[in-house]
């Protein structure tokens, strides 16, 4: 058994897994950031007073929430270049697809958290003479962030694993790298176990970071009850 392990996990194989893990992390981090921005814009858009903005945000959210990520990635990679003549590199396409997908879910989380802030807060801020943008920036977002973080954390940890779908559009992330290694070593069991462990460790680290962030955002509330 041990001798099998040393023939499967050669320094070259470990280096390949490390390269794959870096691509997986890059995909996840980039699309989390872009997804969050998109989510904020679309979430606010859906709460807008202007009907066309609401409609546009609604179409975006329903489209990307209502279709499988796999189909979206295929569409962006294979169909879009034929329609528009613009062809993005595979990695960029994957980031675009994952961001659009994450943004649609984040939008609903953000909208929900903003709605959960007590209506009195907005009214009080308005009575104090704050402008709408300042109400959002100084009053609503700080309070909404607290309730949104656990759900957003869930969403982005999900994204870490969803990023494996980028393998179907030729991005050599962790899973595709592993498949390649399986094809030369014919040793699927130790390799897939290793890849599961790597995903688990990465999501565990992410979960801990989100827990830290959550505690930090809860700090003002803890001192007030103490």
């Amino acid at each position: 058994m041990l001798s099998t392990l040393s023939t499967v996990f050669t320094p070259d194989a470990l280096a390949a897994l490390w390269r794959g893990a870096q691509i997986t992390l890059a995909l996840t981090l980039l699309s989390s950031v872009f997804g969050l921005i998109l989510g904020l814009v679309a979430g606010l858009g859906r709460m807008s007073r202007l009907a066309p903005v609401r409609l546009l945000a609604g179409i975006y959210i329903e489209t990307f929430r209502g279709t499988p990520l796999l189909v979206q990635l295929f569409f962006l990679f294979f169909a879009l270049p034929q329609i528009t003549g613009v062809s993005l590199p595979a990695f960029n396409t994957a980031v675009l697809g994952l961001s659009l997908f994450a943004g649609a879910y984040a939008a609903e989380i953000i909208r929900g958290s903003l709605n959960a802030v007590d209506r009195g807060q907005t009214e009080a801020a308005r009575a104090l003479g704050l402008k709408p943008w300042d109400i959002l920036r100084l009053v609503l977002i700080p309070q909404a962030a607290r309730t949104a973080v656990p759900a957003l954390g869930n969403q982005f940890i999900g994204l870490l694993k969803d990023s494996s779908l980028a393998s179907v559009i030729t991005v050599s992330e962790l899973l595709l790298t592993t498949r390649g290694l399986v094809s030369i070593t014919y040793q699927p069991v130790p390799l897939y176990l290793a890849v599961a462990l790597i995903y688990f460790l990465l999501s565990n680290v992410a979960a801990r970071l989100f827990a830290l962030l959550e505690r930090r955002l809860n700090r003002p509330y803890r001192t007030s009850t103490a």
Binding site: T10, D12, A15, A16, R19, I59, E62, T63, G66, T67, F74, F75, F77, F78, A79, L80, P81, Q82, I83, G85, V86, S87, A90, V168, I169, T170, S172, L176, T177, R179, G180, L181, V182, S183, I184, Y186, P188
Partner: protein, 256 residues
């Protein structure tokens, strides 16, 4: 309504004549030939220790790019994605052990000659005593999806075809007893056996299988340049040398 719009768009995408094709001039301008292959199909394409691709297909692709005076960028894609990507202009060329079928000829262009000559082969677990497809008695036979192996079984009306995404899943399926046999090429089967898979070639070659290099339609200049590169590789013995290196014998000329 949104779903129907998406459906409409994808239908448009499938019927639209390909527009994003890189012709030879684009390839030269880019300085890079984007060549797609499975990357999980030893000994034709498989990962090299440094993360690049190696194998017969990989080296043929590099040699073509060299003769075109550009860099080669090798891209690894699942088999069904190869043709889709050629049509979408995501890849310039496929050196991916693709055999010719009427359906594929409608979608992409084939070079005028195969670049190697192989045959379809039934492969069964070493412990099995089966000698032919008929001997399997309707037990599941595994093939990679979208390959001519799948088409071969469907055309033969084999009653129990199990499709997987690639050869590696199939080796797993055979090991786990989920399939009683597989159809692949004689070369791929032989190499898997040499690498320790507990398998056996069952019976003679089922059908000739002569793979081609393919590219997106309407690229006559790129096609001519690749034909010329292949002709010079045949003439100076490069193709034969690569075949001997990776496949153990020269299969770049038709068997007698």
């Amino acid at each position: 309504m949104l779903n129907s719009r998406l459906l409409l768009l994808s239908t448009l995408a499938l019927t639209a004549t390909s527009v994003a094709h890189a012709e030879l001039a684009d390839v030269r301008k880019r300085g890079e030939l984007r060549v797609v292959m499975s990357g999980e199909y030893p000994p034709f394409s498989q990962p090299a220790p440094d993360g690049s691709l190696t194998g017969f297909d990989a080296d043929v692709a590099r040699e073509i790019a060299k003769r075109l005076g550009v860099r080669a960028r090798l891209i690894k894609a699942e088999f069904p994605s190869i043709i889709a990507g050629l049509q979408a202009g995501q890849f310039d060329l496929a050196v991916a052990s693709q055999s010719k079928t009427p359906e594929r000829e409608r979608a992409v262009d084939f070079l005028s000659r195969p670049y190697y000559y192989d045959g379809l082969q039934l492969v069964v677990p070493a412990s099995s005593s089966v000698r032919s497809l008929a001997g399997l008695g309707g037990k599941p036979v595994a093939v990679a999806q979208g390959t001519i192996f799948e088409k071969f079984l469907r055309d033969r009306k084999y009653s129990n075809v199990a499709t997987y995404s690639g050869e590696q899943e199939i080796f797993l399926a055979l090991g786990a007893g989920r399939a009683a046999g597989m159809v692949t090429t004689r070369t791929v089967g032989s190499v898997a056996i040499k690498n320790g898979q507990k398998l056996r070639l069952a019976g003679p070659v089922l059908q000739q299988d002569n793979p081609y290099i393919t590219l997106g339609k309407n690229q006559p200049r790129l096609k001519a340049a690749v034909e010329k590169a292949m002709a010079s590789m045949r003439a100076d013995g490069t193709l034969k040398r690569l075949s001997l290196k990776y496949l153990g014998s020269d299969i770049t000329v038709p068997a007698k």
